[in-house]
């Protein structure tokens, strides 16, 4: 990588890590409001990952997971993914509906919708923070969801970024519920030009 690109990557990583620190508390508070349980999200460390390592990013490539994906549009382009192994997805759905006295049938009907909304809210917390420090409009698309093997889902990321480069910027965060870890992955992926935009528009006082 050229030294100019290297500098950009380092600056972008610094900005994004700060943005995450700002938004993760809000995101955890949002989950607490939705569920009534006490949540905490770990630091999200952005790093460059080779494209070929993407299928293994979440662990076992054959593991069945629920995924919610938002595409990021506007001046920033990329994706945000919420990935939960099935046991965590069941646990989270049960917590989200805990206060509302729904029948088992109603819960099942609204299960994927609850996960989609969770992905929407967590992803938006992050995007709202980027918007706040850059003054750019950073918009998510309507979230989509699926349940499948991890590697099958991560194919989409590999395909999209195959023609862009060999490496992508990705960060993951882990979720804690009442100080116990809950397997949940929040991935944020940005196109390289978008990283340059984020750095260019970042409020300098935010970075100090």
């Amino acid at each position: 990588m050229s030294s100019e690109n290297n500098k950009l990557c380092k600056e972008a990583v610094a900005v994004l890590n700060k943005v995450w620190k700002m938004s993760s508390q809000k995101a955890a508070e949002d989950l607490t409001i939705m569920s009534g349980d006490n949540f905490h999200l770990s630091n999200m460390n952005f790093q460059q990952v080779p494209l070929e390592d993407i299928p293994d990013l979440i662990g076992n490539p054959e593991q069945i997971v629920s995924v919610v994906m938002l595409e990021i549009t506007g001046k920033c382009k990329g994706e945000i993914l919420l990935i939960l192994p099935e046991k965590s997805a069941d646990e989270l759905v049960s917590i989200l509906f805990g206060n509302y006295q729904l029948s088992a049938e109603e819960i099942e009907e609204n299960r994927q919708s609850a996960l989609r909304e969770t992905g929407n809210i967590l992803g938006s917390a992050f995007l709202n923070s980027i918007a706040a420090i850059t003054d750019m409009e950073v918009l998510p698309t309507v979230p989509v969801d699926a349940k499948d093997m991890t590697a099958a889902i991560m194919d989409i990321i590999q395909i999209k970024y195959a023609s862009i480069g060999d490496q992508i910027f990705v960060a993951e965060s882990a979720l804690m519920r009442d100080s116990k870890p809950m397997a949940l992955y929040l991935l944020a992926i940005f196109e390289p030009e978008s990283l340059a935009e984020i750095v260019k528009h970042s409020n300098r006082s935010f970075l100090e």
């Binding site: 590697a151 989409i156 395909i159 999209k160």
Partner: protein
Amino acid sequence: MSSTGEFIQTVLGSCVAVCLYDHVKQIGGMNHFLLAKFKDASRFKAIEVIGKYGNLAIPELVRRIENRDGNRCNIVAKIVGGASILAISSQNNVPESNVQGAREILTKLSIPVVAQDTGGKQGRKVLFNTKTGRITINEKKIL
């Protein structure tokens, strides 16, 4: 690729796998590519890039089978994958294009496609028996 009867396994979402099998020599190989066509094929030789694109990966696999005394006239193909798991705009028709692209490349190489399990909305766990040429998909379906 294997000429000793090994199993090759992969997981496919939108990507496509082309399994090639010389039924006389019982040699088989599989590639798992991201996109059907890499346009600037002349520039790259690195195996990592070749593996990503169908128009590079499939001829390379044929070449390797031939290097192990396989014969192109005895090679058949089976195509698997190309599912649309998440309905996102950036994906457009990539899964279908991947499958179509694979068929076109194989036609140009004069390799017949004897079986296909593609499309749909679910991923596939693929196990390819290079000795028999048989493919098992999601531990249930046999191609």
